[in-house]
Amino acid sequence: MEWVNKMTALNWVTISPLMPEIFTAVAGLLLLLVGALRGKSSVPFILSAVLVTFFVASCFLFFGYSDVRPLDTMGGMVVVDGFSKWMRLIIFDGLIVSTLLLVTWLKDSQMYKFEIPILYLLSGVGMLFMVSANNFLALYVSLELSSLSLYVLAAINRDRLDSTEAGLKYFILGALSSGLLLFGISLIYGFTGSLSFAEVGGILSQMEMPAGAMVGMAFVLAGLIFKISGVPFHMWTPDVYQGAPTPVTALFAIVPKVAAFGLIIRLLTGPFLSLHEQAAQILIFVSVASMVVGAYAGLAQENFKRLMAYSSISNMGYALLGLLSGQPEGVAAVILYLMVYMVMVAGVFAVLMGLKRQGHAIENISDFAGLGKSSPLMAYSLVALLFSMSGIPPLAGFFAKLFIFQAAVAGGFFTVAVIGVLASVVASYYYLRVIKVMLFDEPIGEFDHDCSYSRKVVMVGAVAFIIIFTFVPNYLLDQAQLAASSLFQ
């Protein structure tokens, strides 16, 4: 009955902070209608409408509700606070960038389907709700909304074997992880009697030794670690990255990880706060294993998309490092890390999608040879992005890693930090290898001229970001700290 009362309390005050999500969802449904009625001819319109939707919704978010204190809404299902605001902004930026990367690709490839941008939009809605979930049900529903859209996207190139394989693998393993997640949630519900984050947190903090809930937490975390492709749940990543169409891979690499990470942060600082010690055990293992596996497995890769998959595995390991101490500084470091990582990956994919020889997209690293001579702008942009990803100063990637390690060292996790920096040296080898092929090797044939402005905007923007960040870092740092501190009130 209480729930019904809460539902009736829905009014403008509690709804207005959710304007971005509502706007995006409604726009998605309307555009789906347009697409269904008009068919293929509506693709350019839908594409630009999706872009405009993201943009307008993020403006709602940026200029709209700005209180950083938590506000429960939708009957306690969703919470809006500084953290969710900032995470949603990051997600919106990621969505805009991945949609920009889609623009020319849709035109060039045979995949002229209006569903693609709409699926981007729907998965986006799911991700937006993920970072503001305040209830295990909301968590599950939003996670599935985004995941289902992503499964379809992975398999969208249905006439190609590797695309369908990627979609199927992603779906089956994703379903498995959903099962784990649901099992964990049911355990938690069984042992605490509630699904609300706040209530679960309150009950767990009073329990002496909540063994059952701990097992539940382990399962929930396992389900989420699958989504961020942490070791040992990383197996799907290389295949899906390789098989999915490149702009979709870019989307996978850019946005869903941020959202899933937001969810992990919220769980660890909310319902599982009192279980932090136990959670840290899991995180230490996953973090170390991800950093090491991501670094070593990446060494043997020939396909650039697979390489990026392993790079993302190791990067998620680094991001997890920041959560070990359970302090606001660590969470702020993670938020910053995700932001910088997202920008760098977007830039890298923008370059990758511009690389073509005789109309064929290039994916093998050895085919990058001679890029430094034929198109220096792209080559040196990629060089800067890869140096930044391997954490070489003075680019933004270095500072992102720096704050993560600082948080880990401040928490006393010296061994993990040392393993982390050593793994980063190993990982820097494969980034360097790409640079070597581009700059040092002799060219093998001509590259096609890339005339896509949207891609160039993303590429140049990403490079500008990682350079400018070094000089004026304080705005983003402050925002990340503000967002993190809103979780610890």
Partner: protein, 533 residues
């Protein structure tokens, strides 16, 4: 105090030049020439600024001068803090001095992708000068590591046949050492809440923590120096790098390790320094003797000079860890002198390499006949490298050995044998290259040095001789900073021992006292003093 931000200007002027080069469009001779002129102009201006700085430097002052401090990362304790003292002063000048010479040396010999080449060198200059000026630990690390990017590209793109292997080895070796230093820096920052180097110098760290921190710093600086047994990247990098790359590598990059010891290990971690000093002594002696012997059997000229660099750096580490004024003075002087001599030697090898395209010693001979000026230059440089009195090489080696002799006679005796070996391989090289029988027609037909080559060798030769006969210009300026460093070091060591005896359990708790009150008035006074002048 000078309001004029001369250090920032020197640091970022080359970067501005690099940005301007990026804007330069087109190919062809004219554009290439313009690019070279622009790079030369920017690095030349930087050098002029460095001379202005040198002339305005107050020699009596032990503290940091030309200090600039701005907020960079709020709330985290990282600031943009620059300044030079007697220790870093000459390294800054050396960096600014060698870069225009490098650009001149590559005027003819490098033709492919000249614009990128020049951009790399200008970036390198920014990072080098920044490393020596930075007074914030993270800022220091940023420049220190940033060097890897342009150097990797320089070796990899414009290097010799095994350039890729060498570039990777150089990059990964130095990165592996440095990331451990990063963790140590972070641990220090977390303990004290600041990354400010002068403040960190006043901080006390618990002795057992110092041991770990020291090892982490050592892993970085020892690779950069490079000390035996982690020196193996250096010969490879030298052999494959283009001439100008070798010049910067030997002239400046190797000094970053020694500078790091003086800036971080000694003042911040005195207990650990005292604890590990015998180990460094041992490694230095091994480096001096072993690498000298290795140099003796090299057939590749660049490799021989590279191994001799490792041996000379052995004198530097020896000198630093004597922890007395003669030893440290000698180490700093040796670094500066080696910066000039080895840079000039690599340039000299570059001169003949440009003509014959081989570095094999046996292919050359009797160059004194057809290249008399070159032969003269080479002999002077050889004598400087050997450490003949009257050249700059003598002063550094002598002081370092003197310092070592005061601490440990046996070590000093062994190290002194290295001087003999050094003479042996350098004389051998000179005999084969400059004198000796005529071996090849093409070697005998090589023309003597061009005007440009003469132009950039002249200042180098003059420096070698001037530093040899009037070392006091350098020593007077380095002395106050080194003295205050050592006084602080020994004072800290003494108090540590006292408090260790008086209150043992206090140190088992990891707490750090910042002696800010002791430090600040001194600094303030010093700055006022500086302003008055």
């Amino acid at each position: 105090m000078n309001e004029f931000p001369i250090l920032s200007l020197m640091t970022f002027l080359p970067l501005v030049g690099a940005a301007l080069l990026l804007l330069l469009r087109g190919e062809g001779e004219a554009v290439q020439f313009r690019a070279k002129m622009l790079a030369l102009l920017m690095s030349g201006l930087t050098f002029i600024l460095s001379v202005v700085m040198l002339l305005n430097f107050d020699p009596a002052e032990a503290d940091f001068q030309f200090v600039e401090k701005r907020i960079w990362f709020e709330n985290i304790g990282i600031s943009y803090h620059m300044g030079v003292d007697g220790i870093s002063l000459f390294f800054v000048v050396l960096s600014a001095f060698l870069t225009p010479i490098c650009i001149l040396a590559s005027w003819k010999s490098v033709s492919k992708r000249i614009r990128e080449y020049l951009i790399s060198f200008l970036m390198l200059e920014t990072f080098m000068i920044g490393t020596f000026c930075a007074l914030d630990a993270i800022l220091f690390y940023l420049f220190f590591e940033g060097v890897l990017i342009p150097m990797f590209v320089i070796i990899g793109v414009w290097g010799g046949p095994r350039r890729v292997y060498s570039a990777f080895k150089f990059f990964l070796y130095t990165l592996l050492g440095s990331v451990l230093m990063l963790v140590a820096l972070l641990a220090m920052i977390v303990q004290t809440g600041t990354a400010d180097i002068p403040t960190l110098m006043g901080a006390d760290f618990p002795p057992h923590m110092q041991l770990w921190l020291w090892l982490a710093f050592f892993s970085s600086f020892a690779v950069k120096m490079p000390m035996w047994p982690v020196h193996t990247w250096l010969p490879d990098a030298h052999v494959e790098a283009p001439t100008a790359g070798s010049v910067i590598l030997a002239g400046v990059l190797l000094k970053m390790g020694g500078y790091g010891f003086l800036r971080f290990s000694l003042p911040m971690l005195p207990d650990a320094t005292a604890y590990f000093a015998p180990m460094v002594f041992g490694l230095s002696v091994v480096a001096i003797i072993y690498t000298s012997l290795v140099a003796l059997v090299q057939q590749d000229m660049k490799k021989m000079i590279a191994y001799s660099s490792v041996a000379h750096m052995g004198f530097v580490t020896l000198g630093i860890f004597t922890l007395n004024i003669q030893g440290v003075q000698g180490a700093v002087f040796q670094m500066i002198s080696h910066g000039v001599i080895s840079a000039a030697l690599f340039l000299a090898i570059g001169v003949v390499y440009d003509r014959l395209h081989t570095r094999d010693i046996n292919r050359y001979g009797n160059l004194s006949k057809n290249m008399p000026i070159y032969a003269t230059v080479f002999v002077i440089l050889m004598l400087g490298s050997v450490g003949l009195p009257g050249t700059s090489g003598f002063v550094g080696e002598f002081l370092a050995l003197l310092g070592a002799y005061k601490v440990d006679t046996i070590t000093a005796t062994f190290a002194a044998t290295g001087v003999v070996f050094g003479a042996a391989y350098m004389l051998l090289l000179t005999r084969k290259l400059v004198f000796g029988p005529k071996v090849n027609e093409d070697a005998a037909a090589m023309s003597d040095m061009t005007v440009v080559e003469k132009a950039y060798f002249l200042p180098l030769i003059l420096l070698v001789l001037w530093l040899g006969v009037a070392p006091s210009y350098v020593l007077d300026r380095t002395a106050p900073a080194i003295e205050s460093l050592l006084v602080q070091y020994h004072a800290k060591l003494a108090t540590e021992v006292e408090s260790n005896i008086a209150n043992v359990p206090e140190h088992s708790q990891e707490h750090v006292q910042i002696k800010e009150q002791d430090q600040m008035p001194l600094q303030d006074h010093a700055q006022e003093h500086g302003m008055g002048e």
